[in-house]
């Protein structure tokens, strides 16, 4: 199958709308954790879905053992949002949130689901607002806990052909806590994404 056409201009535009979208999400996270949040430069790549776990591993660098929350979104552009929390940062979450003692696994899961839901809502909401679209979201669910990122997605989980990945990350200056938000679009939505980007570019 040929790769969907995604020009340098589309990539540049998507990177910028993703950058704008993550600003608000970062501010919400900063408020929640009472810390300054560093925003990353969004990264974009098109990959065969079967290679997505490998691509994620490369994007994440050394933070390979993760807890992952997934949420699907539905709009003219649809796909999956996955929030990955590195293991070291997860250990500090109780402290950051001001809990007196370590969190029980169920409590920790609850906190990570809340944070993921907030990041996905703010980021995807901000992204789609720029296209005048309003996505619907599924409830967030835990995809995996303390799992090496390469094992995160069974290849049949994303039987999509080519997929578009957008990765942004939020890290703290004073803590190991970091979260990566990965937006995955299946091939059919890559075309839709290109169309909405074309419309946005045409207004400039």
């Amino acid at each position: 199958m040929s790769r969907p056409e995604f020009s340098a201009e589309h990539r540049d535009a998507l990177q910028e709308v993703a950058n704008i979208a993550m600003g608000e999400a970062g501010a919400s996270l900063a408020k929640l954790l009472g810390a300054f949040v560093r925003l990353s430069v969004p990264r974009i790549q098109i990959s065969d879905a079967a290679l997505v776990p490998e691509a994620l591993g490369t994007l994440l660098g050394p933070d390979r053992v993760v807890t992952a929350v997934r949420q699907s979104f539905l709009s003219r552009v649809q796909g999956e949002a996955i929030v990955l929390f590195g293991e070291a940062g997860c250990a500090e979450i109780a402290d950051l949130m001001g809990y007196e003692s370590a969190l029980a696994p169920a409590e920790r899961r609850e906190v990570l689901l809340d944070i993921a839901n907030m990041l996905v809502g703010a980021c995807l909401g901000g992204l789609f607002r720029q296209f005048s679209l309003e996505p619907g979201f599924s409830a967030p669910s835990v995809l995996a806990e303390n799992t090496p990122v390469e094992q995160l997605l069974g290849t049949d989980a994303f039987d999509w052909g080519p997929a578009l990945l957008v990765e942004v990350n939020f890290s703290l200056e004073s803590s190991a806590f970091a979260s990566h938000l990965v937006i995955l679009l299946p091939e059919s939505s890559i075309d839709s994404m290109r169309e909405v980007l074309d419309q946005l570019i045409a207004t400039l």
């Binding site: 540049d12 990177q15 950058n19 608000e24 970062g26 949040v37 925003l39 570019i201 400039l204």
Partner: protein, 121 residues
Amino acid sequence: MSTPVLIVDDSAMARKMLQRALPADWDVEVTHAANGHEAIEAYRAGKAAVMFLDLTMPDMDGYQVLETLRRENLDCFVVVVSADVQPLAQARVMELGAIGFVRKPVTAAKLAPILEEYGVR
């Protein structure tokens, strides 16, 4: 004489949006830079009486540009243009010598008051 204006952003689309948001009646000579290193180079070449500076860039980011400018005595007006809406981000860039902070996406209405206030146009 036209005012040398430098637009610094890693995104070509963002640079284009910024250029379109400049006051229509402002006599400027615009230069673009795609990262901090290019920005410093253009500044040293006298191409930035006014600089519009993004914060999140690969290589050399906006904070590092501001720090470098300060070491070189900051002979230009810097307006930071960023999607980062944390109050602390704004406080930090003002502390580093920026005259204003504009939240992305940039519009003419957001830029005008800052440019008026400092009489840079």
